[in-house]
């Protein structure tokens, strides 16, 4: 038999002015199981709480109903009070008779009647409340950062700084990411390498940071605080521990015609290579697609010249398994492929380049040693046309619906740099809008226009046609002047949209995190939890969550690190006890629940059941991980057999409320 206490709060006159609280207490006193029903001026006050605590002890209560303000206000207060009096905090229910009754109704009679009904529903519910105990699960004191660009590096540095071990998994031979390829950064125009490479070195030297370059995540199991991740260390045919990065092998390698991806294929590298001078780790890697030794066993030059014997043609992919408490995703972005944009002649003329290619062309470590030359004939360009929003803000299937955010600024930067270095070069920028929200951004853009006389033209380029004289005929419209323009340019630079890295989607599946339709990772809440994924213990850093520039990326990286550190600091995680649970005897193992779970909290196990006739039967049944489940209840409705139920909001509890209200 339940022994329920009901406590009706006056909230000064907030409730008492419109609801006859004494009548409510009196009426609820007659409800089944109610053994004490009292009213009080301020139930949330110290003395009000004591009233509740004393009643719990005195009447040996099995449930408490507080008729007061919204549970969003004081549910925790009363739960704590109950716990202090030795009652399980989840045996407390709140009837909201302030926000949802006294404050919205004027007539005392009907408001009182409604308050009684709300109280009755809470009593009916509390009859079925089960004492819940929040579970705990331990936290592995190690973080994984997936992606070694500036986002990943910053996150790793911050986490390491806090004293936790952190692993970076980078799919390329070196960390550094896109920022390493960039020449200068806006709006300060400092050299990207100058600010990035020290951080790369710092990361490599920090003993808490372990860099797995040329590696990929192949499997993720577990849940918050307790992930088990399999990392594939791809064979680079060079023993990382021995290679000193002296570079002799790269000099001697006879295979020199390999497109250099670091320079966007604008020049070549050797089959054994170090992507760039400041690579971290500075270790050579053999490209098996080009290495003649690996392809047909004839060469072996690098092996011969290597003084430390680091070359190992027989190296194979290695898999390592590690436990992590937190995972930060920092998989970054790529410019989209421009195959579908024939109108810009990207595939027809080498002088039509993307902005990232332009970065390399202008970079001192780039193919031309920093001198801007046309890729086709290595001549100095006199007229350059920039085309904005190539593939961004597109409604059609060719491009992306979103704004890539960084293009306006880097184009202003490019235009300005060109105009400064080559004042004889005319620069045209065709734009739809120029977006410059950011500290010193608009000033920067205005400088490009006003000080550097970059021709900003609102309008779209219709067609780029390579001509026999080597010029590129640019046909465009000037929307403000409402006229057609024809420009014979030497170079055309396309601000290609950026998109998430292709590795992100399979990774999201492994992590059971959500992605939007553009394959950007979805944050747990767009406003309030921007660096967490909906899956507990998985955080988002950088452009994998959406387009962003370097300062934003670094800010988010540090924020993600802070969240991860917050998690790693704990020895164990207290789980929300209001989670789903499956009645194995009723579960069909049909997988409906799993499909609607946004957290990947549901797995299936083959469980052996002892049948009543003493035989055994193995059945697939759902099992909810309480550390991962957030208690939304989507699974409870997806489950046709009703095996899935939710603690704190069970089917029977909600139906009891319905019954009580409709009585």
């Amino acid at each position: 038999m339940q022994r329920i206490g009901v406590f009706v709060c006056h909230c000064g006159t907030n409730i008492a002015a419109t609801v006859d609280v004494k009548a409510v207490a009196e009426a609820l006193g007659h409800e089944p199981g109610v053994v004490v029903s009292q009213d009080y001026q301020y139930m949330c006050s110290e003395s009000g709480q004591n009233l509740v605590k004393n009643a719990i002890k005195e009447h040996n209560l099995t449930g408490v109903v507080i008729c007061s303000c919204s549970p969003r206000m004081h549910e925790n207060t009363f739960r704590k009070a109950a716990a202090a009096a030795g009652l399980n905090p989840y045996l407390v229910e709140i009837a909201n008779i302030r926000e949802q009754c006294s404050w919205i109704h004027k007539d005392i009679a009907t408001a009182t009647e409604k308050a009684v009904i709300l109280g009755r529903a809470a009593v009916a519910k509390v009859h079925l409340n089960a004492p819940l105990i929040a579970g705990e699960s331990p936290v592995a004191k190690r973080a994984l950062v997936i992606g070694g660009g500036i986002a990943g590096i910053q996150t790793a540095l911050d986490i390491a700084e806090a004293g936790f071990d952190v692993d970076i998994v980078e799919k390329n031979p070196t960390i550094g990411g896109k920022m390493a390829q960039i020449d200068k950064t806006f709006p300060t125009l400092d050299c990207a390498a100058c600010i990035l490479t020290p951080k790369m070195v710092e990361a490599s030297q920090n003993e808490k940071i372990h860099i797995h370059s040329f590696s990929e995540v192949t499997d993720v199991k577990g849940f918050v605080g307790n992930f088990t991740v399999t990392i594939k260390k791809k064979a680079r045919f060079v023993d990382e521990t021995k290679c000193t990065g002296c570079g002799l092998c790269t000099e001697k390698c006879p295979m020199k015609k390999v497109p250099n991806e670091f320079n966007m294929g604008l020049d070549n590298r050797t089959a054994i290579y170090i992507p760039f001078a400041q690579a971290v780790p500075k270790v050579a890697t053999i490209d098996p697609n080009y290495c003649m030794m690996l392809k047909n066993g004839k060469c072996g030059v690098c092996s011969k010249v290597c003084s430390v014997g680091a070359i190992d043609y027989k190296q194979e992919d290695r898999f390592i398994e590690e436990k992590y408490g937190a995972i930060v995703v920092a998989t970054g972005f790529n410019p989209i492929k421009l195959d579908k944009y024939d109108e810009f002649a990207y595939n027809q003329s080498p002088d039509v380049v993307t902005s990232l290619e332009l970065e390399r062309l202008m970079n001192a470590a780039g193919p031309n040693g920093g001198t801007l030359l046309r890729p086709s004939d290595k001549t100095h360009p006199h007229k350059i046309v920039f085309v904005q929003c190539v593939g961004s803000r597109c409604d059609d299937s060719k491009g992306k619906p979103y704004c890539s955010k960084i293009c306006c600024m880097y184009t202003a930067k490019h235009a300005m740099l060109i105009r400064e270095k080559y004042p004889d070069t005319e620069v045209y920028v065709f734009y739809i809008d120029v977006r410059t929200p950011g500290k010193n951004f608009d000033e920067f853009y205005r400088r490009a226009v006003e000080q550097y006389n970059v021709h900003y033209i609102k309008g779209m380029v219709g067609k780029v046609t390579p001509q026999s004289n080597g010029k590129l005929h640019v046909q465009a419209s000037d929307l403000l002047a409402n006229e057609q323009l024809h420009i014979d340019a030497d170079m055309v630079v396309l601000a290609a949209a950026i998109e998430p890295d292709k590795t992100a989607r399979p990774l999201a599946t492994m992590l059971t995190t959500q992605m939007d339709t553009n394959d950007f990772f979805t944050e747990a809440h767009p406003k309030l939890r921007p660096v967490e994924s909906a899956t507990a213990g998985i955080f988002l850093s950088g452009a994998c969550q959406g387009p962003k520039d370097i300062p934003e990326t670094v800010a988010q990286a540090s924020a993600a690190a802070a969240k991860a550190i917050g998690l790693l600091c704990k020895n164990s995680i207290t789980c929300n006890p209001c989670v789903a649970h499956s009645d194995e005897l009723m579960c069909n193992g049909c997988s409906s629940c799993e499909k609607v779970c946004p957290y990947g909290a549901i797995t299936y196990i083959d469980k052996e059941f002892r049948m009543p006739d003493r035989t055994t039967k193995v059945r697939r049944v759902a099992s909810v991980n309480p550390a991962v489940c957030q208690g939304c209840g989507a699974c409870t409705v997806a489950c046709p057999s009703g095996a899935m139920d939710l603690n704190g909001f069970s089917n029977s509890q909600i139906m009891a409320e319905v019954d009580a209200i409709c009585k």
Binding site: H30, M611, P612, D613, D659
Partner: protein, 339 residues
């Protein structure tokens, strides 16, 4: 014999329904027949039988038993029984008429079921002799003569007239109440019809079905038969056979929370259901085999064991035509029979 011309049957129905509720088998939109409360213009169905049996009149699918008012620790019991009104069921076939005798043996033995008795006392059963039996009929196996049905009053048709004969006092009262509409007439045509029906009965595919080897004396033999597994393997465990059966009388008792109390009601239950015998700590009939066996053992062995050899089946053939997987008592009898 008292009779009425077939084309005057409406006036007879009108006369009966003036005094008490009259139920007759009538065709529904989907072609099947069911008992309906007579209203002017309603036609007597020509179908051999109704989908639902006539047991509904005395043992309805759900029936309120008692109500409780609960307040605090107090319980008040409210007897909600009410005296039934008089009613007539017209056109009950011989098989269904016999089913009442079988139900009586359950519900009218001590302690008498007052709910059943109440309806039984107030209902007059007017039966109708069969003229066009179907291939699914096997009432003969249980000693039922469809040309001479039981019931309070029996009715025959020869195609032109309905003939009436009271079997009980209640039946006589019924005949008396409508005697002004009846005339005396000879039965020569009727005798021919009956003879023809009897001849057809002999030619029915199940005419040879015999109950000779069933009954209470072979209890363990049949219970332990190795045929049950095969017979029950495709049984869906639904309640169709039970619910269309005129003699199945098992029920469940349940409580329902109404707006102001608890209403206890009973409803039909089926021994084919997996939770029929389920208790808090186990279930003695775990598999469909055991539940399937129970239903047929009950009809063919247990019931006769307790009721002087009377079987718990009347051969109406409803389960033969309605079982979703066409498993039925005839197949069971044929498979099981040991001579």
């Amino acid at each position: 014999m008292l009779r009425i011309s077939i084309d005057k049957i409406d006036s007879l129905f009108a006369a009966i329904s003036e005094k008490q509720a009259l139920y007759i088998p009538a065709d529904r939109a989907d072609g099947a027949a069911e008992y309906k409360k007579y209203e002017a213009g309603m036609k007597l169905s020509e179908k051999l039988n109704t989908v639902r049996s006539a047991k509904d009149f005395f043992f309805p699918q759900t029936e309120n038993l008692v109500e409780f008012k609960m307040e605090g620790k107090k319980i008040e019991v409210k007897d909600i029984r009410q005296e039934s009104e008089d009613f007539v069921i017209f056109g009950v076939r011989a098989c269904d008429a016999r089913s009442f005798t079988i139900l009586d043996k359950v519900y009218l033995v001590e302690p008498v079921d007052s709910y059943y008795k109440n309806r039984r006392d107030h209902g007059t059963v007017v039966t109708m002799a069969c003229t066009r039996p179907s291939e699914t009929c096997f009432c003969q196996a249980f000693g039922i003569d469809p040309t001479a049905p039981e019931g309070d009053c029996a009715v025959w048709s020869d195609g032109s007239y309905y003939y009436f004969k009271a079997n009980t006092e209640k039946g006589q009262a019924f005949v008396d109440s409508v005697s002004s509409l009846l005339e005396d007439g000879d039965t020569a045509e009727l005798d021919k019809t009956v003879a023809k029906t009897k001849e057809i009965m002999g030619r029915l595919p199940l005419a040879k079905l015999s109950t000779e080897n069933f009954g209470g004396d072979k209890l363990n033999e049949y219970f332990n038969s190795d045929k049950w597994g095969e017979l029950s393997e495709s049984c869906l465990g639904c309640g169709t056979c039970t619910f269309v059966c005129p003699t199945c009388q098992c029920y469940d008792i349940k409580d329902f929370k109404t707006s102001d109390g608890i209403r206890r009601f009973r409803c039909w239950d089926s021994c084919m259901y997996s939770d029929f015998t389920k208790m808090a700590h186990g279930n003695p009939r775990l598999t469909q085999l055991e539940r399937f066996r129970q239903r047929f053992m009950h009809k063919l062995v247990y019931f006769p064991a307790n009721n002087n050899g009377e079987f718990g089946c009347v051969g109406c053939g409803r389960c033969l035509s309605k079982c979703p997987i066409s498993m039925n008592i005839v197949k069971v009898m044929k498979a099981l029979e040991v001579k």
